[in-house]
């Protein structure tokens, strides 16, 4: 009897709750259709009209509210990325100029793609989103989750002078679909083409009486010399010596080496077909570059544990700062970043006044040049999820943040606090404290349409570039800048519309690529071919081949020759 009663009770409880769930379902349906009206169901370029009495002279009559993504880099001793001197400046400015309230939403820098995915999937993404991953945007656009910007950038062109001036047609329409005309994102502008450079310890070279390497062979000899003389260079820490440090992200952290093996006269078509992976896994020549790394690894010249430390781990940085690392390849300004906490500043404090990393160009290609393949003038991609119900206010934000005055202030801050003006007129960045600390170099996390110093005046910018790294020797920055700008091969825009095979596989393929690289670096030399081919096969079967096929097919459809016009 009791059992039966229990059953009845439970059953009714269940029915009730399921009924409740059903209600939830229908609500979801409604909200789904609301967002549809903004995105997928509307014809290309349609905009949500804002009537004249709501929007007068570039200003809303009632205060609007938008949320904006900002990267959280989790720096030791950094300021709160959503609330500091710079966010105050932006919030105040937007409220005064456009009557728009701005709220920042932080997203961890090193897992940004995953985080954005989660936010988009749950419908809680900020109104203005920023990511480096276009495939992520494309995937959501295909599902109707992204606002089409094509109408906004043209219809409100007169309200967006700074955006058009700064990005221009090139960056605004970079991703416009050639067939449908949809525009899911605008590309931020890369003010500098500098990408990756190799650094070596100048003081070690001096101690051993070596010259800075200018060829692969000299570089290898240098690494061997570091390794052999570990006890001279490091004393009791000799066993901690890492002659050449490469992380799990081999494709980035040996980029200059890899690029030196690629045919500098590669056709645009071949480069594009293999170009989905920006770490150049399938480009011609990459295999030989990794074979060389494999040789070095087996000679004990690389960091043994590199594959065990994932993205965002700071162990490797600490080895560099502590002075155990002889050479490494990284972003052109890596040892100068973060002022007093930069790698070079740490080296000087912990190791000695003469300890420093200097940039070198030492990986020659088959023509004897130091060709570096860099991307086009594009950087992050800015997009609005379809949950954005203030598209115009958000466009105005992009315009505001592209104003040269505002970029300048965000990059250099206040005189006497974050920068000083030198006699030459150059602007030198100073190490700031508290609220004025910039979490990212020159606040690129706030200047979402601009990456790289841009003071509104080209001369001043060039003059100041070397002085923007507080607590670092401008001469070293200048050297790195020069080397990073040598023999560039700048990427071109191959706009053939969305490549369907690219949707949703970006992250899987990045992981596959890293596995292919890492395994090939650490295997025994006689097994190298086998391991490398297995890694490539794995990459291709996981979607890499489909992308290459579709890219080749689309190329043939739009271009008649193997080179771009």
């Amino acid at each position: 009897m009791k059992k039966k009663a229990l059953c009845v009770l439970l059953a009714s409880a269940m029915t009730l709750s399921i009924a409740a769930c059903g209600d939830g379902g229908s609500n979801a349906k409604e909200s789904g259709s609301v967002s549809n009206t903004i995105s997928s169901d509307t014809p290309v370029g349609e905009v949500v009209e804002v009537s004249n009495d709501e929007f007068v002279n570039g200003k809303f009559t009632t205060t609007r509210h938008i949320t904006v993504e900002v990267y959280d880099r989790g720096n030791d001793g950094g300021s709160d990325p959503t609330n500091n001197m710079y966010t105050d400046y932006i919030k105040k400015g937007m409220l005064e100029d456009h009557n728009v309230e701005v709220e920042f939403v932080k997203v961890p820098r090193w897992t940004e793609v995953e985080e954005i995915n989660n936010l988009l999937a749950s419908g809680s993404a900020p109104d203005i989103c920023v990511t480096y991953s276009y495939p992520t945007i494309q995937t959501y656009a295909d599902m109707g989750g992204v606002t089409d910007l094509s109408g906004y950038v043209t219809q409100y062109k007169s309200e967006l002078p700074n955006l058009w001036n700064w990005l221009g047609d090139t960056n605004i329409n970079w991703d416009r679909d050639p067939v449908t005309g949809n525009l899911w994102a605008v590309e931020a502008k890369l003010a500098t083409s500098n990408r990756v450079v190799t650094f070596v310890r100048q003081d070690w070279l001096d101690k051993l009486g070596l010259k800075a390497p200018t060829t692969k062979q000299e570089f290898e000899d240098m690494l061997v010399a570091f390794d052999k003389n570990a006890s001279t260079l490091l004393g009791k820490d000799a066993d901690k010596m890492i002659p050449y440090s490469v992380s799990f992200d081999v494709g980035w952290r040996a980029a200059t080496l890899i690029e030196s093996f690629i045919d500098p006269d590669i056709t645009d078509k071949e480069y594009y077909v293999n170009g989905f992976d920006d770490r150049k896994l399938t480009q011609n020549g990459t295999k030989e570059a990794v074979r060389l790394l494999n040789k070095w690894y087996n000679m004990g010249l690389l960091w043994d544990d590199f594959a065990l430390y994932g993205s965002g781990d700071t162990s490797e940085d600490s080895f560099m700062k502590a002075g155990y690392v002889g050479a490494f390849t990284h972003n052109w300004d890596y040892p100068f970043r973060n002022g007093e906490d930069s790698i070079n500043a740490n080296l000087q404090r912990q190791v000695g006044a003469d300890a420093k990393f200097v940039a070198v160009d030492c990986f020659e290609d088959k023509n004897g040049n130091y060709t570096k393949f860099v991307s086009g003038p594009i950087d992050r991609k800015v997009f609005f999820p379809s949950t954005n119900d203030e598209p115009l206010a958000s466009m105005l934000y992009l315009d505001w943040i592209s104003d040269p005055e505002h970029i300048k202030y965000l990059q250099i801050g206040d005189e006497g606090v974050t920068h000083q003006v030198l006699d030459s007129g150059a602007i030198q960045t100073m190490a700031a404290t508290g609220n004025a600390i910039m979490n990212s170099g020159m606040n690129i996390d706030y200047t979402i349409t601009c990456n790289g110093l841009n003071l509104g005046d080209d001369k001043l910018t060039a003059l100041s570039k070397a002085y923007t790294y507080a607590a670092n020797d401008p001469a070293l920055v200048q050297t790195a800048n020069t080397i990073a700008g040598t023999n560039l091969k700048i990427g071109k825009n191959v706009n053939v519309g969305a490549i369907e095979a690219e949707a949703g596989v970006g992250d899987t393929l990045s992981a596959k690529r890293d596995q292919a690289y890492d395994n090939a670096v650490v295997c025994a030399p006689e097994k190298f071919d086998e391991v490398w081919d297995a890694g490539i096969a794995d990459y291709l079967s996981a979607g890499g081949q489909a992308i290459m096929d579709e890219r080749a097919e689309k190329w043939a459809k739009y271009f008649s020759s193997d080179m771009l016009p």
């Binding site: 009897m1 009791k2 039966k4 709750s17 789904g32 959501y140 043994d304 544990d305 065990l308 162990s315």
Partner: protein
């Protein structure tokens, strides 16, 4: 439930009885309601979304209006089984879970038996507490410990090995060694906590049995073999069933924390595959299909183990 009350009214006659019964025991049901609501909201309601596995998923459309996937909705199941990564993940899940079962299941039983034989109460308590502790550490922390100890270059253990003139052992960066490390840490983390249930079961054995055995001249091992082990057999069987039900399951944190690029071939399991491909790669339908497959197989194992245990004359879980 109240057993005596149940005996008294074995045959129900009218709704009046039910009313009376509810009046008397409604507090118990009110208490039961909370966990029931939890189960319904967090375990049953989400099941509505299982249909994503059979549909072409879109974040903006309601699941009821999403179109059916190709091949009568089985597109994603076909896709999963023709995918190399999924097959690796499936194989790894089974292999790692079987190894876990093989090494990890007997460990707490042995530990409980050993603890039970200790005469120094204080020592026993201290050992017990120390053995429990790892259970409360998250896998991320355990992995950082492992990295500090076992990394080939900077790990303490390998430093000692190298100082003694041997080659560093690639505990974490070679497939074979990695599996050993992974399983060992699993056993280490869980054996103390797992032994609690057995200790409780051992405590429930009638001490007179031991006295009688002593009188008959049974030694320590005889007593363990003939009294303690049979005494905790039902507990062992129940736990074994529950473990078998989990053979395709298993946690996410442990493999995720321990994985690195060099061992993915053996370290990628279904949970991490689903996370990588589904959440990070946005292929929600595919991974829901994988998750559904995983659950169905899990239920199958559970039913089978339960059936076997009942055939063997033990109590099942139902």
């Amino acid at each position: 439930m109240n057993r005596t009350a149940e005996k008294k009214e074995k045959t129900p006659k009218s709704w009046a009885n039910t009313g009376n019964y509810l009046k008397r025991y409604w507090q118990l049901y009110a208490l039961l309601a909370l966990p029931m609501i939890y189960l319904v909201v967090f375990k049953y309601a989400p099941m509505v979304y299982i249909q994503i596995a059979f549909k072409k998923y879109s974040i903006v459309k309601s699941i009821w209006t999403q179109p059916l996937a190709k091949n009568f909705g089985f597109e994603y199941f076909i896709k999963a089984f023709s995918n190399n990564d999924f097959r690796y993940a499936l194989k790894n899940t089974i292999v790692l879970n079987l190894l876990d079962l093989f090494f990890g299941f007997p460990a707490p039983i042995l530990f409980a038996l050993i603890l039970n034989e200790l005469c120094f109460k204080k020592f026993k308590r201290v050992v017990q507490t120390i053995a429990y502790m790892p259970h409360f550490l998250s896998w991320v922390i355990i992995y950082s410990l492992a990295l500090q100890l076992l990394a080939p270059n900077a790990g303490l253990v390998n430093m000692v090995i190298k100082k003694m003139g041997f080659e560093a052992i690639p505990f974490l960066n070679d497939a074979f060694h990695w599996v050993g490390t992974y399983i060992s840490f699993g056993v280490w983390q869980n054996f103390g906590w797992g032994s609690i249930v057995y200790l409780a079961a051992i405590a429930g054995i009638n001490p007179e049995l031991y006295e009688a055995a002593s009188v008959d001249g049974a030694g320590r091992f005889r007593k363990i073999w003939h009294i303690t082990l049979p005494g905790i057999k039902p507990t062992i069987v129940i736990l074994l069933i529950m473990n078998l039900g989990n053979i395709l399951g298993g946690g996410f944190d442990r493999p995720f924390a321990f994985q690195n690029n060099l061992v993915m071939k053996v370290a990628d399991v279904i949970a991490t595959y689903v996370y990588r491909v589904g959440i990070k790669g946005l292929q929600f339908s595919l991974t829901t299909a994988v998750g559904l497959f995983q659950s169905v197989v899990g239920v199958f194992f559970l039913l089978m183990a339960n059936w076997i245990s009942r055939k063997m004359g033990e109590r099942g879980i139902w």
